[in-house]
C-alpha cells in the first residue's frame, strides 16, 4: 500500500486500525491528496468486496441500500441489493448529498444491517465505510450533523505529501495503474479473526482510567460546547485496542491512547466558536497534554 500512497504511513495505519476496531473512517481533506486512493488500496490489499458510491446531491437512499423490484415471473417483490452490500464501501464526498441519503448510509453503519420494507438484510462481515469529504467546498454541501459524525471511529486528514514523495508521485505511474497491480495480502476471514483478537487485547485499569479522563476532559474544557459521547468513549477504547494490536502488543498502553485521542475525539466535540475539526483536534491535544500519563 505504501507504494501507492507514498509518505502517508500514518494515514494507512489509521485506516487499518479502523478496520481492525470494527469502525468507520472519515477522511477529510482537500481534493487530490489521495483519499480515494487510500480507500481503494485498503480494499484491494484485502480480498474484500469494494464498492464506491459517489455522493451527489440527487442521490437517493435506494441508490445506496437497494430497491425492491416487482418480479413478473414470481409475481412478487424481490430485493436488489444496493452498493452498500460489500465489505468496504467508499462514500465519496459524503457531504454533497442530502441528509436523507446520508442518514440511510449512517443507519447501515451503526446497525450493520439494512431494513427495507419490513425486511432486514444483514451486511457482510467485515463491514467498513470510508467516507471522504472536502472541507473547502461549502457551496451545495450538507455538513454531517454531530450525531452522524459520532458514528465514525476515526477522523483523519491526509495532507500534502512531503516534497520528495510528491515528486515521485508526479513522475511515476498514476495510482490507477498501481492499484491494478495490487494483490490481496490478507483474506477477509483473517480480518474477522483479527477483529476478534483485537477484542481480547488486555486493558489495564489505569490506562482505561486515563482514557476516561481524556473523554471527560472534553466535556469540561472551557472552550468546548459539547463534549464526547459515551459511544465516543466506546469507539475510543476499541480504536486503542486495535492500535495496540497493530503495534504487535496484546495490551494497551498510554501511548495508544495519546496517539489516537485527537483522531477519535476531534470530530466528536463542538467548540464554542464552531471552528473546524482541525481546531477541535488541537483542543483535544491540549486536554491530553494537561493530563498526567499513568506510570
Amino acid at each position: 500500500m505504501e507504494t501507492i500512497l507514498q509518505g502517508k504511513a500514518d494515514a494507512i495505519k489509521m485506516a487499518i486500525v479502523t478496520l481492525l476496531g470494527r469502525g468507520h473512517l472519515l477522511i477529510e481533506d482537500i481534493p487530490g491528496v489521495g483519499k480515494t486512493t487510500l480507500a481503494s488500496a485498503l480494499a484491494k490489499s484485502t480480498d474484500c468486496t469494494f464498492r464506491r458510491i459517489q455522493f451527489t446531491s440527487d442521490l437517493l437512499p435506494t441508490d445506496i441500500l437497494g430497491v425492491s423490484i416487482f418480479n413478473q415471473e414470481t409475481r412478487d417483490f424481490e430485493f436488489r441489493q444496493g452498493p452498500v452490500f460489500s465489505n468496504i464501501v467508499l462514500a465519496d464526498e459524503i457531504n454533497r448529498t442530502n441528509p436523507k441519503t446520508q442518514s440511510a448510509l449512517l443507519e447501515a453503519m451503526s446497525e450493520k444491517k439494512v431494513s427495507v420494507e419490513r425486511h432486514t438484510f444483514m451486511l457482510p462481515d467485515p463491514f467498513m465505510v470510508i467516507a471522504t469529504q472536502n472541507p473547502m467546498e461549502y457551496h451545495g454541501t450538507f455538513p454531517l450533523p454531530e450525531s452522524q459524525l459520532d458514528r465514525f471511529m476515526l477522523h483523519i486528514t491526509i495532507g500534502y505529501p512531503a516534497l520528495e514523495y510528491e515528486r515521485k508521485a508526479i513522475l511515476g505511474k498514476t495510482s490507477f495503474v498501481l492499484l491494478d497491480d495490487l494483490s490481496p495480502v490478507v483474506s477477509h476471514q483473517e480480518i474477522v479473526r483479527m477483529q476478534a483478537e483485537v477484542e481480547k487485547v488486555f486493558t489495564d485499569d489505569s490506562v482505561v482510567a486515563y482514557l476516561m479522563k481524556i473523554v471527560t476532559g472534553t466535556r469540561t474544557h472551557p472552550s468546548v460546547r459539547l463534549g464526547a459521547s459515551t459511544r465516543g468513549a466506546q469507539f475510543f477504547l476499541s480504536a486503542v485496542r486495535a492500535h495496540a494490536y497493530y503495534e504487535g502488543r496484546d495490551y494497551i498502553s498510554p501511548d495508544d491512547v495519546k496517539a489516537l485521542a485527537p483522531l477519535v475525539l476531534g470530530h466528536r466535540i463542538i467548540l464554542r466558536t464552531r471552528m473546524t475539526v482541525a481546531e477541535a483536534e488541537l483542543v483535544v491535544r491540549d486536554i491530553v497534554e494537561s493530563l498526567p500519563v499513568p506510570v
Binding site: 489495564d204 485499569d205 502488543r249 495490551y251 498510554p254 495519546k258 494537561s290 493530563l291 500519563v293
Partner: protein, 660 residues
C-alpha cells in the same frame, strides 16, 4: 467474574456448614441437604444457568415448612432448627448465585452459622474454623470491593488481603486479651446437649454404667495443687434407695450454699463466722483442684471429698444432705470451677432409716452377709471384711449378660455369674452392709484419670466413671471400694499431647478470665518495665475501668481504617517496583535535559532521545516496562535489570558524550 471470587463464595458457604457440622449437635438427616452444595457449586463453576425463580421459590417455601416442622417435631428447639435452616439456605443459594448481592447473602448466612456454632461448641476445631472463616471473609470482602471498583487484576488483591487478614487477626487477639469479659451471654438458653452420663441425676438404672465405661470421651480436666495421695475419687452424687432395678436419690432437697468473696462455702455457717472459712482444727491438708467440666446432662459437679469451698461464676449452688453439690441447672457449656477440699475419706454424718432400706426379696444377700461377718464384732471390721470378700472372690468384667428372668441382678452377681463391674460390686456391698445393719449408700463419680505430662493435668474420661460405697460407721461416713483394681491402658503420647492442646485452648482461650489478662499484662509490662515507667499497677488500674478499653477500641479501629485507606490509595497509584524503576529512568533523563512532563508518554520520550546512543536500550526498557505495567504481567525482575543497565549506560561518558 474472576474464579477467585467464585471459589471464595463456595469456601465461605462450606466453612459455615462445616462449623455447624463440627458441633455434633445438628441432626444428620436434617442437615443432609448440605450435599446439594456439591452439585450447586459445580454448576456454578461450570457457569451453568442458575435455577429458575419458580423452583427457587418453591424450595424456599418448602424450607420454611420444614423449618416449622423441624422446630416443633424433630429438633424441638428453634435454635437448632435455625441451624438446619441456614444449611438448607446455603444449599439453595448455591443454585441461585446471580448478583453480588447473592454472594453477600452467602457471607452473611455463613457468619450466622458461625455464631450459631459458637453457641453450640467451644472446641479447638471451632477455633480453627473461625480463623479460616475470618481470613476467607476478609479476602472475599476485599475481592468484591476491588471488583466493584473495577480492578480485575488478582495480583492487586493479594497484598491488601494479607495485610487486612493479619491486621484483623492481630486485632482480634488484642481485643480478646484486652477487653473485659461480659458475663452476659448473647443467647441465654444453652442449646448444646451435654455428654450423656448416668448415675448423677438422682437415678441410675442398673447396668447402665457398663456402656458408659467403654466411652473414652473426656468429661473433665483437672489441675491439681496440693497433696493428693492415693487414688483420686471424684465424688459426684449419692444414691440411697434401691428397688432391685433402679437406684434413686430420695434426699435431693438441697440447701443453698453461702456465697462469699472466696466462692461458695460448704460446712456450717455459724461456725465459719465470715472470715475464717476453714472449720477449726479439723483441716490440715488442703487440695485445690481447678476443674474444667465438659457439658454433661446433669447438674452435679465433681470434686475430691471432702469439699470445703467452690469458686465458680454460677449464681447459686446447692448441697444436699449427702454432700452432693449441684448447679442450679444442667451445664450446657463447659464450666470451670475451683474446688478446695481436704483429702479425707471420712466425713461426719447422721443415720437415716433410708440408708438401711433393702429391696424386697434380698434375704439371700443379707444371709450371705451375716454369715460372712458373724465372727467380727465392730462395724468397721465388718465393712472392711465385706469389701475384701467382694474384691477377692469376684471377677471384674464389663461383659455381663443380663440375669435370667425373675432373678435380681445382684443375686445373679453374687451367686451365679460371679462377675461384674463397679456397679455390681458397690450395690452388692451396700445391700450386704444394710443387711447387717450398717447404714450405707452408693456414691457415683469418677476414679483416677490419666495424668497428662504435657501440661501437667489430669484427664478424666467417661470410662473413669465409677461407683463406690460409703458406710456410716461411728457417726462418720467412710469410703469403701469393693471393686478390684483394674489395669488401665495408658493413652498414647500423641493423644495426650493433642489433649493438652485442647486443654490449653479451653483454658486460655475459651475460659479466658480477667486474672489471665492481668497476668498477661503483668508479663508484658515486666518485659517493658525494665526499661520504662510503665508500671503494672497503673496499667491494671487503667484496664479495670471501662473507658480505656473503649478508647483502645476506637483508636485501633481508626488506625485500622486509616491504614487500609492509605494502603488502598497507594495501591491505586500503582507504585509498583517497575513503576519506581520507570520513574527513576525518567528522572535520569530529565537530568540529561530532556523535556519530560507528567503527560509525556514513553513513545514521546523515545522520539526526543533518538540522537542519544542509549536510545535502543531505552526502547527496550520501555517495551519491557509497559508490558509489565500495562500488560497481563511479566517478569518484573527483568525490567529492573534493564533499568539498571540503562542507567549505567546513560551514566557512562562514552555513551552520553556521543550524543551531545
Amino acid at each position: 467474574m474472576p474464579i477467585l471470587y467464585k471459589v471464595l463464595t463456595a469456601l465461605l458457604a462450606l466453612t459455615g456448614c462445616v462449623s455447624l457440622a463440627i458441633t455434633g449437635q445438628i441432626n444428620l438427616v436434617m442437615s443432609s441437604v448440605a450435599l446439594a452444595l456439591i452439585p450447586g457449586y459445580y454448576r456454578f463453576f461450570k457457569g451453568e444457568p442458575h435455577a429458575s425463580i419458580r423452583i427457587i421459590g418453591l424450595f424456599t417455601f418448602t424450607e420454611l415448612l420444614v423449618f416449622l416442622f423441624d422446630s416443633f417435631a424433630v429438633s424441638g428447639d428453634v435454635f437448632i432448627a435455625v441451624a438446619h435452616l441456614t444449611i438448607a439456605f446455603q444449599a439453595l443459594k448455591s443454585f441461585d448465585l446471580k448478583e453480588p448481592w447473592d454472594h453477600l447473602q452467602v457471607y452473611f448466612v455463613s457468619l450466622l452459622q458461625l455464631i450459631i456454632a459458637s453457641e453450640l461448641t467451644s472446641s479447638l476445631a471451632f477455633g480453627v474454623v473461625f480463623v479460616v472463616f475470618m481470613v476467607l471473609l476478609v479476602t472475599a470482602m476485599v475481592v468484591s470491593h476491588f471488583l466493584k471498583e473495577g480492578h480485575g487484576n488478582q495480583g492487586l488483591v493479594r497484598r491488601p488481603v494479607y495485610v487486612i487478614s493479619v491486621l484483623t487477626i492481630c486485632l482480634t487477639v488484642l481485643f480478646f486479651a484486652g477487653l473485659p469479659r461480659f458475663t452476659y451471654r448473647f443467647i441465654s438458653k444453652g442449646h448444646a446437649r451435654g455428654i450423656h452420663t448416668t448415675g448423677f441425676s438422682g437415678r441410675m438404672d442398673f447396668g447402665s454404667l457398663g456402656t458408659v465405661k467403654l466411652d473414652p470421651t473426656v468429661v473433665m480436666r483437672v489441675e491439681l495443687q496440693g497433696p493428693a495421695a492415693g487414688p483420686l475419687y471424684w465424688r459426684g452424687s449419692t444414691l440411697d434407695y434401691f428397688d432391685g432395678i433402679t437406684w434413686k436419690n430420695e434426699l435431693r432437697t438441697g440447701t443453698r450454699l453461702r456465697r462469699t468473696a472466696d466462692g461458695f462455702i460448704l460446712g456450717t455457717p455459724e461456725k465459719g463466722s465470715g472470715t475464717n472459712r476453714q472449720p477449726e482444727g479439723t483441716v490440715k491438708q488442703q487440695t485445690e483442684q481447678q476443674i474444667d467440666l465438659e457439658p454433661l446432662d446433669s447438674d452435679v459437679i465433681f470434686g475430691l471429698a471432702r469439699v470445703l469451698s467452690i469458686r465458680t461464676d454460677a449464681y447459686a449452688m446447692t448441697v444436699d444432705a449427702a454432700g452432693t453439690i449441684s448447679l442450679p441447672g444442667k451445664t450446657s457449656r463447659r464450666i470451670r470451677y475451683t474446688v478446695i477440699s481436704d483429702v479425707a475419706d471420712r466425713a461426719a454424718g447422721s443415720a437415716d432409716p433410708r440408708y438401711l432400706q433393702v429391696p424386697a426379696g434380698s434375704e439371700r444377700i443379707s444371709g450371705l452377709a451375716l454369715r460372712l461377718v458373724r465372727n467380727i464384732q465392730d462395724e468397721a471390721g465388718r465393712a472392711a471384711f465385706i469389701e475384701g470378700y467382694l474384691r477377692n472372690n469376684y471377677e471384674y468384667s464389663l461383659t455381663v449378660s443380663p440375669p435370667p428372668e425373675g432373678t435380681s441382678p445382684i443375686e445373679d452377681f453374687l451367686f451365679i455369674a460371679r462377675k461384674g463391674y463397679c456397679e455390681h460390686y458397690a450395690t452388692a456391698m451396700v445391700l450386704m452392709l444394710r443387711g447387717v445393719g450398717i447404714p450405707a449408700r452408693v456414691v457415683t463419680g469418677f476414679l483416677g484419670g490419666d495424668r497428662n505430662t504435657y501440661g501437667g493435668y489430669l484427664i478424666v474420661r467417661q470410662s473413669d466413671a465409677h461407683s463406690w460405697v460409703e458406710a456410716l460407721i461411728k457417726g462418720q461416713w467412710q469410703r469403701f471400694d469393693p471393686t478390684p483394681p483394674v489395669a488401665v491402658q495408658p493413652a498414647g503420647t500423641y493423644n495426650l499431647f493433642w489433649d493438652s492442646v485442647k486443654m490449653k485452648w479451653s483454658r486460655y482461650v475459651v475460659g479466658y478470665r480477667p486474672e489471665d489478662r492481668s497476668d498477661l499484662l503483668g508479663q508484658f509490662a515486666t518485659g517493658l518495665g525494665q526499661a520504662g515507667r510503665l508500671s503494672v499497677q497503673s496499667v491494671r488500674r487503667l484496664m479495670s475501668s471501662g473507658l480505656p478499653a473503649f478508647l483502645l477500641f476506637v483508636a485501633l479501629s481508626v488506625l485500622m481504617a486509616v491504614s487500609v485507606l492509605v494502603h488502598l490509595k497507594r495501591r491505586r497509584r500503582g507504585r509498583r517496583k517497575v513503576t519506581a524503576a520507570y520513574l527513576k529512568v525518567r528522572g535520569a533523563l530529565v537530568r540529561k535535559g530532556i523535556r519530560i512532563t507528567a503527560s509525556t508518554t514513553t513513545a514521546e520520550i523515545e522520539a526526543q532521545t533518538v540522537k542519544f546512543p542509549f536510545n535502543p536500550l531505552l526502547r527496550e526498557f520501555h517495551r519491557a516496562y509497559s508490558r509489565a505495567r500495562f500488560g497481563r504481567g511479566a517478569d518484573e525482575e527483568a525490567v529492573l535489570q534493564k533499568a539498571r543497565s540503562l542507567i549505567r549506560a546513560m551514566g557512562s561518558k562514552a555513551m552520553s558524550g556521543a550524543g551531545k
